[in-house]
Amino acid sequence: MTTGSMKTKRAIGNTITYIVLIVISIIWLFPFVCMFLQSFRSMNEGGGGMVDYLLPKQFSLDSYAFLFSEESKFVRWYGNTLVIAFFVAILSTMMVLCVSYALSRMRFKGRTVLMRFWLILGMFPGFLSMICLYFLLKQFGLTQEGAIPGLILIGVASSGMGYYVTKGYFDTIPKALDEAARIDGASRARVFFTMILPMSKPIIIYALLTAFMNPWCDYVFASYVAFGYSDSYNVAVAMQRWVWTNDYQGYFTRFCAGGMLIAVPITILFMCLQKYYVEGVTGGAVKG
């Protein structure tokens, strides 16, 4: 009797949960589905602007064709972003690994002072330094035409400050392992390259993944550094202009198409590496 009522109670509870989860899924996927549908709307309907219906009356690849045509620099912007993301991911991960190992394993003079100093620096908003950075880059010719290497430099230079998650991971690797290897005559560098790094594959992938995804959203510095030179835009800066500037009417479906081209590969990549991402994020959150 009691177990029976428990069962029905649980069944009702589960049904409600399923309903809520389905509603949530619809809300979360709705914008992407809309975007997907609208990217296939023909230019003859609403001139590529916004319309008051969702399903295109006529399926067409107009918007995609435009993105790959001579008229648009989309391919170039996409390439720019890809290059930036690739180099920033590799180089900044290397920086972070170096800092994390030094701070996790070695007790050098000024270590705590350095960590506190960087913590304080991190409390200043990043844009504060924008005009100064712009000027520094300009001195080296890394703005406008040279904005791509400039943005890579900015993305990499200070990346050592983001060592928290990786250091937290290194801290969990027992120090006894290091010591044993060092007693056998291995140098610090050897321990780092042949022991710690191979054991840290998940966190390295996490660092690479997050560093790779950041440049795709970088609007602030990218627009400032590449100012007025459209060949150096990244996708965020370029497509922002499509959405915000009213003269660009008709670019709405093109924005949707471009958005799909950006979102789909990154999402697939992310899904493949999701396991590592979750591991890194959870570990980082708990250790603070």
């Binding site: 975007m35 800092v99 504060l128 100064c132 990346s159 560098a189 992310f270």
Partner: protein, 470 residues
């Protein structure tokens, strides 16, 4: 001398300032002793850095020290001094007109300030290296006096991969942070004390020191000051960060609990659907959502088509609607993230806790309140703090959705009702080139972040009692 050193060592235990001066005193004492007791090689090293090590056949160290000195002197004479000497005034003549009507540019306040700061920093660095140079000499002499051998050049180089590996690892990241973060921040802090704005743009015009004038302006509530706007923006920043953090946190945890619930199938599917929002770059998803809620966007047009509303809802031009909508859309962005984090942690809670609670007849909500919530708050305390400070500076969500708007005549300096301190700072910098006030604002952001971090960090249970739940 001995007395001073004594008072220094008692101060050691009392406060960091006393400790600093105590160490400084000891340092000077050691430098003096090194000079008095050292041989002629050491004495020459005081002027020509690395001379001692080179004479003692430690070429690697010696040449490195010597190179630092030569480079520093070349820098100072050829470059740094020209700027450093004007840092008190930031230049006197911006440009002079030539006979043929063209201008030739003289002093550039921007360069003077930037390179002046750089030179001051480098002077400190040089003094540190000089101090190292003295110590190296002293240690070498001590070793030789004790009859031991000095490290060979090969050993010196090899130590960079072993006992001194930290220096090798940190050299590049440290330099990067110093040049690309620390130097610009110090520069901008200085800008807060100058009148660098649209009317004082180098190279055509000079700017100069104005003391605390900008801070007074920021905090003055008269008709000319922008104090009231500052408070409005600050208030919304704090409210926004509060909702963005805690609402997302609890909703995310709720979703995680639902997915984790016994008997719910397709756990992986639900999670994957939510995680898509993390993967898609924010500028794509947020800009699209922004367009969805625009006056002629999907939401409004469908609501009108269905006859639910007769005219469009001004989602983005009504301040209150815009604020609420931003917080809701941020839930859409933030819930997947908290869901991911809490999922793993929820599974760590021992199942027998729930089991015994269930036997005692506790309802689901009671179990959540007395088991789940305390545990989660304890474990994720530091995470919540970083989320809060992160949200204080959450540029993307605000800027991509509203650009800070709607603007109003009631707010000065083009601030809008959904502007955070950082988006306002950004607009001041980029649109108005009002660098002086932007710099003040940046310092304010720092103060707010630092105060909240320090205050909350002290009361976090997991910081006070690390073993609490283990």
């Amino acid at each position: 001398m001995g007395k001073e050193a004594n008072s220094g060592s008692t101060a050691n235990k009392q406060n960091p300032v006393g400790k600093f001066f105590g160490n400084l005193g000891n340092d000077f004492k050691e430098i003096g002793l090194t000079f008095v007791e050292g041989d002629w090689k050491t004495k020459v090293s005081f002027l020509i850095m690395g001379f001692g090590p080179i004479m003692r056949k430690q070429f690697v160290r010696g040449l490195a020290l010597l190179a630092v000195e030569v480079l520093f002197i070349l820098y100072l004479v050829g470059f740094g001094w020209n700027y450093l000497k004007d840092i008190g005034t930031l230049g006197t003549v911006a440009r002079v007109m030539n006979d043929n009507g063209t201008y030739s540019y003289n002093d550039n306040s921007f360069l003077i300030l930037l390179y002046g700061i750089l030179t001051i920093v480098l002077i400190f660095v040089f003094l540190l290296v000089w101090r190292v140079n003295v110590r190296v000499n002293r240690n070498e002499e001590k070793l030789l006096a004790a009859g031991k051998k000095l490290a060979t050049n090969g050993q010196d180089l090899h130590s960079l991969l072993d006992s001194n590996f930290d220096k090798t690892l940190m050299a590049l990241p440290f330099t990067g942070v110093m040049v690309f973060t620390a130097l610009p921040i110090v520069f901008m802090i200085c800008i807060a004390f100058t009148d660098y704005d649209a009317n004082h743009q180098p190279p055509t015009n000079l700017f100069t020191w104005v003391g605390l004038e900008n801070f007074k302006n920021m905090l003055s509530f008269g008709t000319s000051g922008i104090g009231s706007t500052f408070l409005t923006v600050l208030g919304w920043t704090l409210i926004w960060a509060f909702f963005a953090t805690f609402l997302t946190y609890f909703c995310g945890m709720g979703v995680a609990i639902m997915i984790n619930k016994k008997g719910i199938k397709f756990k992986k599917l639900w999670r994957t659907i939510l995680v898509v929002t993390i993967a898609v770059p924010q500028f794509v998803s947020l800009l699209y959502v922004y367009k969805m809620f625009a006056n002629d966007g999907l939401i409004n047009t469908y609501l009108m088509k269905w006859g639910w509303i007769s005219s469009y809802i001004p989602f983005w031009s009504n301040p209150t609607l815009a604020k609420v909508l931003i917080i809701i859309i941020n839930l859409w962005i933030g819930i997947p993230y908290t869901m991911l984090i809490t999922t793993g942690l929820l599974m760590n809670i021992p199942e027998d806790l729930y089991e015994s609670a269930r036997i005692d007849g506790a309802t689901g909500f009671q179990m959540f309140r007395s088991i789940t919530l305390p545990y989660m708050l304890f474990v994720t305390g530091p995470f919540l703090l970083t989320q809060y400070t992160g949200n204080l500076n959450n540029f993307n969500v605000i800027y991509l959705l509203t650009q800070g708007g709607p603007q109003s005549m009631a707010l000065s300096n083009k601030a809008g009702y959904t502007d955070l301190l950082v988006t306002w700072l950004y607009k001041m910098t980029v649109n108005d080139t009002n660098y002086r006030m932007a710099a003040v604002l940046g310092i304010m952001v720092f103060v707010v972040t630092a105060v909240i971090s320090l205050a909350v960090y002290g009361i976090l249970p997991s910081v006070k009692d690390e073993e609490g739940f283990q």
